[in-house]
Amino acid sequence: MSEPIIKIENVNKWFGDFQVLKDINLDVGAKQKIVVCGPSGSGKSTLIRCINRLEEHQKGTIIVDGTELSENTKNIEQVRAEVGMVFQQFNLFPHLSILDNCTLAPIWVKKMPKKEAEELAMKQLTQVQISDQANKFPGQLSGGQQQRCAIARALCMQPKIMLFDEPTSALDPEMIKEVLDAMVNLAKGGMTMIVVTHEMGFAKEVADEVIFMDEGMIIEKAETKEFFANPKSDRTKLFLSQIL
């Protein structure tokens, strides 16, 4: 593996007295695709939210593309501009059209000229096949379309890394596929991805490595085939037997 693009060392995090992350160590190489799974409350969402510092970690270091996450606001904004994130609840901006959702950050954060930003946005929207919805508002779109727009919005910042926080959990079953397809395409394009998901089919198809977390710890980390064929820990076996 080449020099890792994300280095997580001995990261600990507490919510009050409750320890959510316990001594997490994780290296992610460029263009690697990692799927994080585990029962709810295991800290997987918190872990990836720490990577772009939507949550602060209290101990340990996280280095993203050579920048260490600390109190330094400049660093944080720089990292966030390089790391795209897709949320469970889409979190589109309801007062802006789909196109404006996509161009807002490039124009104001990256200082991209408006025309260029719009071209880029249309390109990304075409990639996820909702370019015909560009002038509608988020409230007029289906859940699947909204989530694909959220992916396009994140991609418009031309990030090096994409984080997905249970992107399909809030969707109707028939819409899950369209979102997963968009993610598979993205993966084939060579994006570095960390995906928290329960879609094991997606993990088998795309992931290089699968991580199983429970109670704030990484229980198991293995290559995808290995992970599904012979999981080592009992906890993982139990989880897989319930989910598959």
Binding site: R49, N52, L54, T73, E77, Q78, R80, A81, E82, V83, G84, M85, F87, Q89, F90, N91, L92, F93, P94, H95, L104, A105, W108, V109, K110, F137, P138, G139, Q140, A150, R153, A154, M157
Partner: protein, 422 residues
């Protein structure tokens, strides 16, 4: 007759309905005749019975109307809304009778027996209202003690300020992004200069008129206008401050808001005129109108802040997350994502605060400034015009109502205009 009414056959329903409508109409007619034309149909009955008879007849009528679904749209609408059961029917009747009874005396006082001609108290010979009083004092109610021949200056200033207010709507598209800047900073400054140079005068060959002479409705407008445009940005900053992560800023904001919400406006106004000058250097003079505007702004800013904070809190956390994850800093996140949504949500709350502000302006009377209600208080003590307080206050109430109703209509419009689906 009794038999047909107790026998519940389909063919009888129309008899019920017709009988009910007939009785109900009789009862209303009786009350109308009595209160409008003083004709008492039930003269021959004992007093008590004659008083309650319409109520009883109407009640029975409504009951008969209600017995069965009629299939006639208007009647079913009545049944559904104001005649659902005996108690509602009773209340409906009482309210109708009260309105009917109250209409003739108030109409005759306000219009038929009222006087408006002439220009002195002696012209008011009728038993009704004396609108002559309002007519004679009209200019005072509008412009206060401002010299009569200079009223054009106030009018011109207001037309200019209103015109400049609309100016923003006609900005070219490529200048639209400066709209907020225009309304928050440039417009208030220009408006201040216009009002200062035109209404105060003192330069450009205009005679100086001190603020003590300003008054009436125009002063209401001036005070409300400046307080409104200044207290909104102040409230916004305080609301953001109260939710800030920096403890110092948060404590200052909380302290500020809790302080100003905890004191009555009237004491603030007293302080502004009595205490405040003591803290200023001797040669430093600040006009009392300016002091009053600052005091009201600081006071209402705290209320605005709380209204806006409600909007900020009602936004889902995901909106903050999404904006941050796109690399937006604090100000970009708030300006482009949070505030546009939050401010939409707080339009009703802000409107509420603004209405309260406009109706609080009469309190500036305590520092010797007489806006419209203050002018009334002065006028009613004028020895030539004693005893017409009622007319004056009704006049002022109507004016305040028009202003406030217009504001609330405008806020409904804004709400509809900026409605977004979630």
């Amino acid at each position: 007759m009794i038999n047909t009414l107790t026998d519940k056959k389909t063919s009888n329903y129309y008899y019920y309905l017709l009988a009910g409508l007939f009785l109900f109409s009789i009862s209303i007619l009786d009350v109308v005749l009595y209160s409008f034309f003083k004709i008492n149909l039930t003269n021959f009955l004992p007093d008590i019975l004659s008083l309650f008879l319409p109520l009883i007849i109407g009640f029975v009528g409504l009951h008969l109307i209600r017995i069965e679904y009629s299939g006639i749209k208007s009647i079913d609408l009545i049944n559904k809304n104001i005649n659902t059961n005996n108690f509602n029917a009773f209340l409906t009747l009482l309210i109708i009778f009260a309105i009917v009874k109250a209409t003739p005396p108030s109409l005759s006082w306000m219009i038929f027996d009222a006087n408006i001609s002439g220009d002195s108290k002696e012209a008011c010979t009728g038993t009704g209202a004396c609108w002559t009083y309002v007519k004679v004092w009209f200019r005072r109610f509008m412009y206060g003690m401002y010299p009569n021949d200079l009223h054009w200056r106030i009018n011109t200033a207001f037309i200019l300020v209103i015109g400049l207010g609309f100016f923003g709507f006609f900005l070219k598209d490529n200048l639209k992004k400066y709209l907020a800047l225009y309304y928050v900073i440039i417009y208030p400054i220009i408006a201040f200069l216009v009002i200062y140079y035109l209404i105060s005068g003192g330069s450009f060959g205009l005679v100086w008129v001190e603020t003590g002479a300003w008054g009436g409705l125009s002063l209401t407008f001036i005070v409300s206008f400046f307080c409104l445009i200044f207290c909104f940005p102040l409230g916004m900053i305080l609301a953001l401050g109260r939710r800030s992560n920096l403890p110092m800023i948060r404590y200052i904001s909380v302290g500020y808001i809790e302080f100003w919400r905890g004191v009555p406006l009237i004491t603030v106004l007293f302080m502004s005129s009595v205490m405040f000058p003591m803290f200023l250097p001797e040669d430093f003079f600040m006009d009392k109108l300016v002091r009053v505007i600052i005091a009201i702004t600081l006071f209402e800013g705290a209320y605005c802040a709380e209204a806006i904070r409600g909007g900020l809190q009602s936004l889902p956390r995901g909106q903050y997350d999404a904006a941050k994850s796109l690399g937006m800093g604090y100000w970009k996140m708030h300006i482009f994502v949070i505030l546009p949504q939050a401010l939409k949500l707080v339009i009703p709350g802000i409107c509420n605060t603004f209405l309260a502000l406009v109706k609080d302006t009469p309190l500036i009377f305590v520092v010797g400034l007489a806006e419209i209600a203050g002018m009334l208080a002065l006028a009613k003590t004028n020895p030539k015009w004693l005893g017409f307080a009622m007319e004056g206050y009704i006049f002022a109430a109507i004016i305040f109502w028009i202003i406030c109703y217009a504001m609330s209509k405008y806020s409904y419009n804004l709400e509809n205009k900026y409605k977004t689906e979630r």
